[in-house]
């Protein structure tokens, strides 16, 4: 297995405005678009719907052509050999998870409101997602508290995940990904939270992307920051 830097680059960046469906049926597309819009809703800022999260998820689920963007964002890495086999198998599993998950979501919607998920009001959709997830809708983060947790793997990998947690993960990925993957249209997701990312992945490769303006400079000396240095001045090597 050679370095990914040497893998063949195929395809091109995904067009976020595309309405072409590579994996979803029309009904599945509409259902996922509606559900992601409840996971990251539209308010005074854009949400998952405007950022085209559904395009990101459709392309991701469609096969193995959109798994790893090329480092310069010009297209995607071509997966080959056992690596391709493994990803094909993984994606097949996730496709089944989505197909069945969408059917189950509609089933819950029909039981409670006698209509498909897409035909419900936003409040009704939230109620369906609560039932579906088996937990109340998450409440707002409050300050002034300490809330302990135990160790967990801070991963972004979806292998073996059930539908709703996978959908929540993929919605966040589609909202905050590099736009080459089809979501985060016009950096909408990044702008909502104040992350000033690279204009393109190429800018991270050639030094164009620069975060210097976000560094605080000149206000402090090292001795202000590290009092130990006042009594123990830094000795450059070799002196």
């Amino acid at each position: 297995m050679t370095l990914k830097a040497d893998w063949e680059i195929v395809g091109s960046p995904i067009d976020p405005d595309s309405n072409e469906r590579l994996f979803f049926t029309a009904h599945e597309w509409a259902t996922i678009e509606a559900a992601t819009a409840r996971i990251i809703p539209t308010d005074h800022d854009p949400g998952a719907r405007e950022a085209r999260v559904v395009v990101f998820i459709d392309r991701y689920l469609s096969g193995i052509d959109h798994v790893f963007a090329a480092a310069d964002g010009s297209g995607f890495l071509k997966l080959t050999g056992k690596f391709a086999e493994a990803w094909r198998s993984r994606m097949w599993d996730m496709q089944q998870t989505y197909r069945q998950g969408i059917r189950d979501l509609d089933e819950v919607a029909r039981q409670s409101h006698d209509a498909d998920f897409t035909d419900l009001t936003e409040e009704q959709q939230d109620a369906v997602l609560e039932t579906f997830s088996g937990a109340p809708k998450p409440s707002k983060v409050t300050l002034g508290t300490t809330e302990a947790v135990t160790t967990f793997l801070q991963g972004t990998f979806d292998e073996g995940m059930s539908f709703f947690p996978a959908l929540c993960l993929h919605t966040k990925q589609g909202f905050y990904c590099d736009p080459v993957y089809g979501g985060n249209k016009d950096h909408m997701g990044w702008k909502v939270i104040g992350f000033v990312g690279p204009k393109s992945l190429k800018d991270t490769m050639d030094g164009t992307y620069d975060t210097t303006p976000y560094f605080m400079e000149g206000d402090y000396t090292w001795e202000d920051l590290v009092p130990h240095l006042r009594d123990h001045p830094f000795q450059p090597a070799g002196e």
């Binding site: 997830s133 998450p138 302990a148 975060t211």
Partner: protein
């Protein structure tokens, strides 16, 4: 000559898979210790959130992952109830797609508000857990699961040592205290309950020592059993250290390679005398 540098999990797996009539328990395994005493360095930490109505943004993503660290708590403190200690370091909470906020709401307006209000107003102080070796914490060959080539995958069995649990609790509480003194308006301590492998650090599975009955490698990363087998990754570390280990592994591999070139390849043998 064979030099292994696959990481402590895969080097042990390859030695355990390399069975023959001469080596029925795997290569270099007369001690029975290949794969045992595995240590993994769980990364434990506390996150602090600040108030955007009052505090300045931190823009952690703009800089290096880690902005500062201290060995102030590395040495054993007699009043702490555990031995050893860790490097601790202040760091950013990474990028939007997976920013490190345990307890981040999973969906809805609470999720969007949390990301919008706190992404630029968060930091954490973490510790590389200096976990203790236990013989029962081990890498062995999975009896059922095979890899893509039909070979048994590495199976990992691990239960934290009581000292690991105590050390992580004390240190995470200290990190939480530091964040509170720094003005954090909310803190999220992350305590150890199990090893998840979140640092990807691996050590101990072919521990180094002078006694062939109690160790796999000698002081030159050379197998006690087989002269021309060296293992130069973290496998030889008898304890895990409480720091990021890669530079030490590289320095140790370099030291072993110097021995191979200057001494072993010339048909000589030397040993470090331990008083």
């Amino acid at each position: 000559m064979v030099v292994l540098g696959l990481g402590a999990i895969e080097s042990a797996r390859l030695m355990l898979m390399s069975r023959s009539a001469q080596y029925p328990d795997g290569l270099a395994n007369s001690s029975g210790l290949v794969g045992k005493n595995a240590t993994f360095h769980e990364y434990v930490f506390a996150v602090g959130l600040f108030d955007k109505e009052i505090d300045d943004p931190l823009y952690g993503w703009a800089g290096n992952y880690i902005s500062g660290g201290t060995f102030e708590f590395y040495e054993t403190g007699k009043d702490r109830g555990h031995i050893g200690g860790c490097l601790i370091s202040a760091s950013q909470t990474v990028h939007p797609v997976n920013w490190v906020f345990p307890g981040r709401p999973s969906w809805g307006s609470a999720l969007k508000d949390a990301d919008r209000d706190y992404f630029n107003y968060a930091m954490k102080i973490g510790a590389i857990l200096h976990d203790m070796p236990r013989e029962s914490n081990r890498v062995d060959l999975d009896p059922t699961v095979k890899d893509a080539w039909g070979l048994p995958v590495a199976r990992i069995t691990h239960q934290p040592h009581e000292n690991d649990v105590r050390m992580s609790r004390w240190q995470v509480d200290k990190n939480t205290e530091i964040l509170e003194v720094a003005g954090a308006r909310k803190t999220v301590p992350v305590y150890l309950d199990r090893m998840t492998g979140n640092t990807c650090h691996q050590h101990g599975t072919a521990r180094m020592g002078n006694d062939p009955a109690k160790s796999v490698l000698n002081e030159w990363c050379q197998s006690h059993d087989i002269d021309n087998l060296f293992v130069v990754d973290g496998s030889g570390f008898p304890t895990s250290t409480g720091v990021n280990p890669t530079l030490t592994m590289m320095a140790n591999a370099w030291r072993a390679c110097d021995y191979i070139v200057d001494t072993f390849a010339k048909g000589r043998e030397e040993h470090i005398r331990v008083a």
